[in-house]
């Protein structure tokens, strides 16, 4: 599903990612972890085509991203669900309209939009909140609206950047259970998180980044074991 080959992303003289090679299979649920500045966000931005790699090759869903030009980026992004730490909801419209946005973009018929938005809201447990404005919701609920918006277009790949960054442990776990349910129905997930305690308990593959390099991987053979992280003396 995701294939990275010798990816380097350089900002000025600083390499956010260095010669990173990794694969994520279809149907997998993987966590990307590491301290802040390790390159987690950069990795997700490259996959979302928010940024381009300085060197290397990325293939997502059999598409070589280098071959996707400016004009084809929107079409590419419609096939990927994205969840953000700050939800990125639009505060001038209600929950329903926020979740409907990806379908409106693709020109889906009104009735079909109603059906699919309610199905997505049902999955995140917010079916009765569709008329509410986002600011009247709690942070956890806002994040679930963001997740409903990410899945309403039925993507095969969902990427999430610190989706539980602003949530307390209980709500965080709730969100992770939600992601697991999507994974159960075949959605591939890549979730960036620095919450080692939370993801340690999930028993999924963990990709550990350190200073833009692959520092290690921990598989599901040791679900609750400690994640190996190379300690580095302060660095960017």
């Amino acid at each position: 599903m995701i294939h990275l080959e010798n990816i380097t992303r350089r900002y000025g003289s600083h390499d956010a990612l260095q010669r990173l090679t990794l694969d994520v299979d279809a149907g997998e649920m993987v966590f990307v972890t590491g301290h802040s500045g390790a390159g987690k966000s950069t990795l997700l931005k490259l996959i979302a085509l928010i940024e381009r790699p300085t060197r290397g090759r990325i293939v997502v869903n059999n598409q070589d991203l280098a071959k996707i030009g400016r004009r084809r980026i929107p079409g590419y992004r419609r096939d990927i669900g994205m969840v953000f730490q700050d939800h990125k909801l639009l505060f001038d419209r209600n929950v329903f309209d926020n979740v409907a946005l990806p379908l409106i973009i693709t020109g889906t018929g009104t009735r079909e939009i109603g059906r699919r938005v309610r199905a997505a809201l049902d999955q995140v447990g917010l079916l009765r909140r569709e008329k509410q404005m986002p600011e009247t919701l709690s942070s956890g609920e806002q994040q679930r609206v963001g997740i409903a918006r990410a899945i309403v277009g039925r993507p095969t790949l969902l990427i999430a950047d610190e989706p539980t960054g602003n949530l307390d442990p209980e709500l965080s776990l709730e969100i992770m259970r939600l992601f697991e349910r999507f994974n159960d129905v075949g959605v591939t997930l890549m979730i960036a998180s620095h919450d080692l305690h939370l993801i340690g308990g999930m028993g999924r593959r963990r990709i550990v980044l350190d200073n833009g390099m692959l520092a290690g991987e921990a598989g599901d053979e040791e679900p609750d074991g400690p994640v190996w992280v190379k300690e580095t003396p302060a660095g960017g």
């Binding site: 979302a48 928010i50 004009r71 929107p74 079409g75 590419y76 992004r77 419609r78 096939d79 990927i80 994205m82 953000f84 990125k88 909801l89 639009l90 001038d92 946005l101 990806p102 409106i104 973009i105 693709t106 020109g107 889906t108 018929g109 009104t110 079909e112 918006r149 277009g153």
Partner: protein
């Protein structure tokens, strides 16, 4: 476009456009003061050339009312008999470019001259009438200098003609002045159109900056440039249409305010002249121009500024 193809079809596409148009209008209505100011600026900018055009149009009608000034006086050769002269008058009158011909016989002319000049006795001493028969020809093509000139040439070339007089100099000057004013209006209209584009472009630019976050989010979700641009284009269109409508109102009110003055002035000249307003075609041009400039201004702003707003 792929946008349209997915599952909704054409009717959904139209529905989306309708929704976007209404939503854009609603957004403008929620900021009535700033919307009104923008629309007012556009209206004044559109009303200026429209009003000037109306002035020239009415002046043109006025000069058309003075068509008597372009009568030709055709003096025939002194040897021409009266019956021949009358026949010639009939022939000329039958031309398509001639409205009517007045025949003044040499005898009538002499009587008039005797009565009017005070030389009656001196003229009585003459054996022969020295005056020729005269045809006063009124062209049916008033205002068209080229056709009038053509008519004049043909009259000059008639074998019976001695002299053709046409006092058109002042009419030509007047028409030339109107032409010049028309050109000035055209130039100013182009400049003012540019002003409308700039005003709307700037308004839309601010709008785009205010909605930066929204644009970023919709881009992240996979909205095409066209989708993101659409509400701004409709906003520009509404500004333009609103400005056009208000411009028509401004012109109408100005006309109403000046109507009495014009009527009084015309009355002093013994004329029933009344100002005419913009006809439906001209009104449509004002509206259409406003709509187009609004759309174009916002498209221009969107093309320039939206590209720079990218997710980071």
């Amino acid at each position: 476009m792929a946008e349209r193809g997915r599952s909704g079809g054409l009717s959904a596409w139209f529905a989306r456009h309708g929704e976007t148009a209404v939503a854009s209008l609603g957004r403008l209505a929620r900021q009535p003061l700033s919307t009104l100011l923008t629309v007012l600026v556009i209206a004044i900018t559109l009303a200026l050339p429209a009003g000037l055009h109306l002035g020239v149009k009415n002046a043109g009608r006025l000069s058309g009312g003075w068509e008597g000034a372009v009568d030709f006086s055709v003096y025939l050769q002194t040897g021409t008999g009266e019956s021949d002269a009358r026949r010639l008058a009939a022939i000329i009158e039958s031309r398509a470019d001639v409205e009517r011909v007045e025949f003044i016989s040499a005898a009538d002319a002499l009587d008039d001259f005797k009565a009017g000049s005070g030389f009656g006795d001196a003229l009585d001493a003459l054996d022969d009438n020295p005056l020729p028969h005269t045809l006063v020809v009124r062209p049916a093509v008033a205002g068209n200098d080229a056709l009038i000139e053509l008519l004049r040439e043909e009259l000059v070339n008639l074998p019976e003609t001695d002299l053709v007089q046409l006092d058109t100099a002042w009419v030509q000057r007047f028409n030339a002045a109107l032409d010049l004013i028309r050109q000035v209006i055209l130039i100013s209209a182009v400049l003012l159109a540019a002003a409308v584009v700039i005003v709307i472009g700037n308004t839309i630019r601010l709008d785009i900056q205010n909605r930066r976050d929204e644009i970023v989010v919709t881009k992240l979700i996979g909205a095409s440039a066209g989708f993101i641009r659409r509400p701004f284009l409709y906003a520009g269109l509404w500004y333009g249409i609103g400005g056009g409508l208000l411009a028509l109102a401004l012109v109408g009110v100005s006309l109403w305010l000046t109507a009495d003055g014009v009527a009084r002035l015309a009355g002093l000249y013994g004329s029933g002249f009344r100002l005419s307003g913009l006809d439906w075609r001209e009104s449509l041009i004002v509206l259409g121009t406003g709509a187009f400039l609004g759309w174009f201004g916002s498209w221009f702003a969107a093309a320039r500024h939206m590209r720079r707003i990218e997710p980071r």
